[in-house]
Amino acid sequence: MQTTISGKAYVLGDNVDTDQIIPAQYLTFNPSVAEEYKMFGKYALSSVPPAQSGLPKGHVPFHTKDEFVSDYTIIIGGKNFGCGSSREHAPIALDAAGIQCVIAEFYARIFFRNSVNGGYIVPFETGDRLCEQICTGDELTIDTASGKLQNLTTGETWQLKPLGEVAPIIDAGGIFSYAKKVGMLKA
């Protein structure tokens, strides 16, 4: 994991489910094929209702200049981020769109596992209701070791929760690299 994650925030609300992150009609792309992996970036967050897209105002498109990759690199969510289906295409879509981490109050279990075990994005947790304190477009920076989050636009700072027991898997880059590191799989 890089020591600093910086970029523009895209803010969403509570219960952003996997159908909103990547609608089922696009699950026909195979993420194991590089050209198709890209397509998940194009359709990432395409089923979020417009009023909830890019809070607090809403109606902010996730993609601006590039149709595959977003200008935003950090997603701020509320409670139960990634609920719904087990589709790994959800964290893949965020990764393909250039998202590096999500900061939410807590995650649905399978989305969290997929993010960590697949090594796509870092799922940070926060004790603060950041989706009501950070605005879409704010410039953020996170020191990943200390968990210090800074809003460069407003000067505010927060302390994120420690990654805890999944930190070694995230550090290794996913479950396969982790299993090799601890000797469960041949390196």
Binding site: D19, A24, T28, N80, C83, G84, E88, I110, F176
Partner: protein, 435 residues
């Protein structure tokens, strides 16, 4: 040794440990790994990428492949994905594949698994689909995973898990004829919220649960994921064992595991089912609960009866009881979950008419067994909501866009309530039209 819940006991046995406690991180052995056409190609990609192009799965008897999501579509990529599964099955010489266009084709994986004898008490089932939790109805630990986890299991047979604390839901009393398991689970989800069981096991207990048939118990466990649950589980009884033994074609041995007396639950809620009312989940969340009487008269454009949640024979019997001899007022789609259930529509009858005749005479359209419009899918999917209409459905999820159009409104209800509503084109209470 301290008392354990059945979820803890199953996990401990599969980790070769005498005991485990909630919060422990353990590596467990897999009894069955299931994948389908939507997540199978990605899983196979992960497996080959990490274990090599010529690698073999850890145990070919334990891998079950069930294409079910995007089957009856002209979408080229969807059809290509089934070809990816075919190629893999051939390469690996896998015995449990239910291919499209052959007599082996089944339909929705969560119903096909028990029908084909792949669910047994005390086992661990992982599937690349969130509704894999359905199989907890057979007294096993069953949960949904992603492609990476499934690819890891394909190569090793193992996965790390955090042992969940168990919540207990006790149902007392005999279910009135106007209620179904769907009402019970929608009531639970409404009470605890769609994150109320996040990272937790949900165990169902009480005489009200054991009075339910196997399909209804599957409906209860099926929707635990809608409360964020890791797994749902019901202790096996004679009904479970009779079902499992009659389907256990390969005579695999299994061990019944039940909760120890004195085991700790992190939460307990008791329901008297006789006091419950028909329940509905309003758009756009499965926990947006209302009683049917509160929303009666809400205008609808479509009714949908199908999916792993509401497309079983019990569901169709219930709907047919209401629709028999009547006509629907709105487009009504009937989608049997599996080919076995589709065959049942032609053989099961009420007052001399088959269920199929009842549905067709009422003006409903019957589709081929598959997941169909439950999760939207390609635009030519049977029953898909391609415009922002209102639909009442026996399916499991109603987040924005779930059944197609992101501004469509989906109301989740029991097959009785959906059938009653189809007759009037408005949300209707089954108590007003039971025959």
């Amino acid at each position: 040794m301290s008392a354990m819940t059945m979820t803890e006991k199953i996990l401990a046995r599969h980790a070769n440990k005498a005991e485990v406690s909630p919060g422990d991180n353990i590596w467990v052995d897999t009894d069955i790994l299931m994948t389908h056409d939507v997540c199978g190609p990605g899983t196979i990609g992960v497996f080959k990428h990490h274990f090599g192009k010529d690698a073999k799965v850890w145990d070919r008897e334990k891998v079950v492949i069930i294409p079910d999501h995007y089957i009856f579509t002209t979408d080229k990529l969807a059809n290509r994905n089934v070809d990816v599964l075919r190629q893999f099955v051939k390469e690996q010489n896998l015995p449990h594949f239910y291919d499209v266009g052959t007599p082996d084709y089944k339909g929705v994986c969560h119903i096909a698994l028990p029908e084909e004898g792949h669910t047994r008490p005390g086992e661990i089932l992982f599937g690349t689909d969130s509704h894999t939790c359905t199989a907890g109805a057979f007294g096993e630990f069953a949960t949904g995973i992603g492609n990476t986890d499934a690819g890891f299991i394909m190569g090793t047979g193992k996965l790390w898990l955090k042992v969940p604390p168990t919540m207990r839901f006790v149902f007392h009393g005999e279910l009135p004829p106007y209620l179904m398991a769907k009402d019970l689970i929608l009531a639970v989800i409404g009470d605890i919220g769609c994150d109320g069981a996040t990272y937790k096991a949900m165990e169902f207990d009480g005489d009200g649960v054991f009075a339910l048939n196997i399909e209804e118990r599957m409906t209860l466990c099926n929707m635990v994921i809608e409360a964020g649950g890791k797994n749902g589980v019901i202790a096996p009884d004679k009904l479970t064992l009779d079902y499992v033994n009659s389907r256990n074609k390969h005579k695999k041995s299994f061990e019944v595991v039940t909760t120890d007396p004195g085991a700790k639950f992190c939460f307990e809620k008791v329901y008297d089912v006789r006091k419950l009312e028909p329940v509905i989940a309003k758009p756009h969340s499965p926990d947006n609960k209302a009683t049917v009487s509160e929303v009666k008269g809400t205008k609808l454009d479509r009714a949908y009866i199908g999916s792993c949640t509401g497309g079983k024979l019990t569901d169709f019997r219930a709907a047919a009881r209401i629709l028999n001899g009547r006509s629907v007022k709105i487009d009504t789609f009937v989608v049997p979950a599996t080919s076995e259930i589709a065959a049942g529509l032609k053989t099961e009858s009420i007052a001399g008419k088959t269920l199929e005749q009842i549905f067709l005479n009422a003006g409903a359209k019957i589709g081929e067994p598959s997941c169909a419009a439950c999760l939207g899918g390609p635009s030519d999917t049977f029953g898909r909501l391609n415009t922002p209409i209102s639909c009442i459905s026996t399916t499991n999820r109603n987040f924005p866009g779930r059944m197609g159009h992101k501004e469509a409104k989906v109301y989740l209800a029991s097959p009785l309530t959906v059938a009653a509503s189809a007759l009037t084109g408005m949300i209707a209470d089954p108590r007003d039209c039971m025959q």
